[in-house]
Each structure stands twice: as structure tokens, then as C-alpha cells.
Subunit: 360 residues, 2 copies
Amino acid sequence: MSSLTVNLPQNSYEIAIASGNLSQLGSQMQQLNLGKKVLLISNPEIFNYYGDICLKSLENAGFEVFKHLIPAGETYKHLQSIEKVYDTALANRLERSSTLVALGGGVIGDMTGFAAATWLRGVNFVQVPTSLLAMVDASVGGKTGVNHPRGKNLIGAFYQPKLVLIDPDVLNTLPEREFRAGMAEVIKYGIIWDEDLFTKLEQASNIDSFQTIEQELLATILIRSCQAKADVVSQDEKESGIRAILNYGHTIGHAVESLTNYQEFVHGEAVAIGMVAAGKIAVNMGLWTATEAQRQDALIKKSQLPIEIPSTLKLNDILSTLQSDKKVKAGKVRFVLPTTIGKVIITDKVTEEVILKALY
Amino acid sequence: MSSLTVNLPQNSYEIAIASGNLSQLGSQMQQLNLGKKVLLISNPEIFNYYGDICLKSLENAGFEVFKHLIPAGETYKHLQSIEKVYDTALANRLERSSTLVALGGGVIGDMTGFAAATWLRGVNFVQVPTSLLAMVDASVGGKTGVNHPRGKNLIGAFYQPKLVLIDPDVLNTLPEREFRAGMAEVIKYGIIWDEDLFTKLEQASNIDSFQTIEQELLATILIRSCQAKADVVSQDEKESGIRAILNYGHTIGHAVESLTNYQEFVHGEAVAIGMVAAGKIAVNMGLWTATEAQRQDALIKKSQLPIEIPSTLKLNDILSTLQSDKKVKAGKVRFVLPTTIGKVIITDKVTEEVILKALY
């Protein structure tokens, strides 16, 4: 059992990581001085696997529990789904001291967090991530939100959970493709923050499947990834500075996701493609060595993740989509670029020419 | 020219009060290190009066300004109006450093604040209140939001403005009824916080019209009301404790508004009715003297505000509506009750019997 703390000026919180944690949800929440009512939010598949154990744990701890299911998938990540959560919250008379618990992947976590941030101007929020991606990335850091018809996560809020509870055992039911997608973010932490994590991944016999990965390595991955994210977020809660390094691979990744209408790639796959592209940009600008960029690309391939932008996408469309990214500042697209494994810089000095060269 | 500061752990901000301030909007915002783009949000009537002077001031200060109008009135205070703001923000490529400026009363302020809180997970926000109610209450304190079909302000966020800019001259175009409604909140500050303000209002020759009120008294009212609100909010940004005293008169007030479908009373009028009822409860519970309660009621009458619950409302409906109030904690309705002019307590020990007696 590992426990990390995300230290923030206000609203610090714990990330509890342990096999079998799901059945401890109620007792762990009991210690947080929350109100009696809990609304558990999930999707039907995840709830089918893990709903009962969570409900039981919460009820045994004395909570009055309600549930609300949202159909699975990014296509339901919109304001209309949030409005339905509001209706359930109202019907069950949730109060400001009540808690929304997100049981699911990044989509459920982002939506539940946004509903928690905006119902009664903010109720309590607990994350129980069930995908690798959500465990190492989405559930830590307080970014919540939904998609706008014309862009991903454009509507949202920074809102911190009271607790992130991670149980690696639940990855057993995660589709292998989703496991690999989560590994993209793990590799990202290796590049931007933790050279040692990167080396461990390189040395591992395999990292592309929950069924074959060593359990000890998986534990290390979860802890070090959450630690990396917690370190960065603690220094910069609302992305005014260093937090932007977490967007490594996401600038082009988001554009690829958006232009393929979120149909062709899951998020981690798009990030993998984005990291390879960002690596090329860094090499072309003389910031990073080709050798290290190749090590990154090799690790991405080892995870069975895609590395190439689909040839069906028009380069000009990618450039224009980059311009509408949330991270644009004074009209300039900002890139996170590696200088060595474990270290990156943020720059808005990437010319269109250099971007195009990397995209070919 | 007066300037007050709302001190918060993070996000402190100024309230600037001065005749002629509207034309200083651009230069005052210039000092805040905001991005270049500004989206001015207003309703057609207010924009017709004051839009041009604001736009000109902002443009002269070098901002690139867009506008978005929302039809006037509480009936448009819903999520669908916010979605239209998002669309305008997207069309004009607003960035995280951009600013939404609310030019209007409480409805425009609350909606603009909520849009600012949730677009790109938070852009900058400036309040330019044009009603007395918004000046002394809604614009200070960071409460933002919209109505749910079944309840007022159930959807929202705490989100602080970067600046509140008040120009008393704009009250010249405010309907008299709205001026009186704002006076209800001013009287509230007298009861809950500032005995001296209460006495000044008692001594004034009249307080029920902008056209006849002494300008010096009006300046005092604005400054002291904002100061009272700033004092309270500084101590308790998110209403976990003392801030709840600002809800004096609002518990029953909200129920009356809600049960009359927001058609019969404007907010301040409902608060006036709620204060009279809360006063009766306090007297009946032996917390407050009948003499002081009468002084409160006399001041409310002097402002030409209503004091009685409409006889068309059923008392049981009021009781049941109280139960769904945001301020309910562990199922108990909390009341703010005066103990002397300038001082109140918060209690959940008011029995239904006592409530019913006060409502008769």
C-alpha cells in the first residue's frame, strides 16, 4: 500500500494505491469528514464489474449511496450528460457536504469532477480510476470537463478531488488496447520528468499487456507516474507555468484526435503519435539528440502504440487545428520539447516550417 | 473615488467605486496584466445605454473587443445561454489569458462569471455591475451560476473576478423598482454587520429612489455595503462558515421567489419579505427584541419594499421548498437570525412550528 500526497496551497489530497483498495473505499472516505450522501457515477460496463463492491463498501461505512450511470465513451462527454447528473443530484437532494464518486476511466472522472465542481457551486469529489490512463494521469491534478461540439475539454474547471483511490487489480478487466494507451502517458513521465522510470521501462521484458507485465513493475509505474504528476501539479495547480510540461505530445496529439473525430485513436494513442512528432521537432531544432529520440520511439513501439500520423490527414488542417488549442497564448502555439530524457522545455518558437517537416 | 480590496488566500481583487468609472474600464483593466482579447457580455437594454462607452474605453486601452448579448431577465439564466457564450468565445478564439467582462445586473454577472469559470477551465473575469443589487451584492464575492429548471442558482461555481468596477452614475437608468430591490440588500448589511449603516438609512430623508436620494448617502451605501460583503467573504470564501450570514432573509426569500415562479417578485423584494419573516422568527424564539424588529420592518417599508408573504402561497409548500435549499445541511434548514441590529447568528434549531407562526 502506497500513499502519496498532492500538496496544494488549499485542498491537498491523498493518492492511495493498493491491491484490493476497492473494498476499502468506504472506510477511506470515512476518514475525510464528508457528508452522509454519496452519488456514485460510472458507466454500465464498469459498474457491472465493480459497482457492487464499491456500493457495499460505502454502505458498510455508513454512507447513503445513490448511483448514476452514463453510457460509455467520449461521445457522451458533453454538457447534456452533466445535466442528467444534476437531475439525479436534485432528485436525491444532495447537499454541499455530499460527495460524487467517479468509478471509471478518464471520461467518467472528468465528467464527474465537472458535475461536482458545478453542482451547488461545488460538492465533494472522489476519484476511483479504473483505467491505466486515468490512474496515472486523468485522476490526479484536478482537471475536469466535457467536450464542446467543436473541441475537446473546452468546457471545464480546475477542481480537486478529496481522495484518489487506485486499485491495480481492476486493470484485469481493462481492454489491452486501453492498457497500452495508458502506457503512453507513463512513457511521457519518463521523458518529461523521470529518467529512471524511462530506463526501467526500457529494461522490462514487456510493457504492452496487463496479463504479462511484472506486478512489481506495474506498482512502480503507478507510484512513479502519480508522483511525477503530483510533483508537477503541486508546483502549479492551474497551469500558469511548469504544469504545461504535462502536455508533452498533446499538442499534435489533440489535433490528430480532433481531426479523426475521436473515432480512430484513443487518447493515449494520439499522445504517442504526438510524442513522436514532438521528438522530431526537438531533434530538427537541435534541442535533442536523434539517439535519445530513437530510444523514445522504440519504447513507444514496444508498447504496441502507433507512431505515425494517418496519411489521410491534411497537414494544413493540422496546423489550423493547432491554432484553436486551449494552450495557444497570444496566437502562438506552445510546444513541450525534450532536451534530454527526463527533461523538457516549453517554447512558442516552433515555426510552421519545422512543424510541417516533423509531420511528413 | 474609493477602492476596497477583497482579501483572499489566492485571487485578491479590487472594488473600484467612482462616478464616471465606466470610461475608465479600459485603463483600469490595463493594469491587471490580462490578455489582449476581451468578450463583453451584456443584455440589449444595458448595452444600448452603456455598451459604446465600455467598448471605446477598452479599445482605447489596446484591447481587442468582442461582444455577446443575452436577452434580459431571469428566464434566460440557464445553461443554454452559457452554451451560446461558449460558441462566441470559440468563434473569436478566446484564450486562457482572455477576459470576460460582465456589463449588467446580477443575472448577467452570474452568467458571465460562470462562463468565465468554465471556458477553457477558467478565463479572466471582470464585473461592471449596473444595478444597485449587483453593485452591493452579486458582483462581490465570486458566486457565479445559472438556474436549474427546478431551482435557482443550483448550477454554478465559486470564481473570483479580477476587478469589480462600479460607476454609480449608471443607476440613473435603473428602474425605480430595481433600485428599491437593491436597497433590501443594503438594509441586510445594516442588520447583519453594520449598525451605523442601519442608523444612517433610518435618518435619511428618503432611500426609495435614485432621483431623490442624497448622492453622498448613496456613495456611503455603496462603499459600506461592499465593505461589509468584502469583510465577510475575505473571512470565508466558499461559505463553509460565517459567509452564510449573507443569506439573511434569503432562506424564506428564495422559497417565495421559487413558489411564485420568479414572476411576482424581484430578488430584493423576496429578500425583504424573507427578512421580515426571519425577524419574526428571531423575536418568537426570544433572540431579538420586538422593538428592533419593528425598526427593521419600518426601514423596509420606507424603501417601499413588500413585507408580506402573498396569501396565495400554501404554507406547506413553503416548508417543503425550504428543504431543497442549497443551504440545507444534514436535512436541517439553517436560518440566519438577528440578535441585535448589526449582529446575527446561524442556527438549525428553528422548528416547523416557529416557522409556520412567522409565516402567518
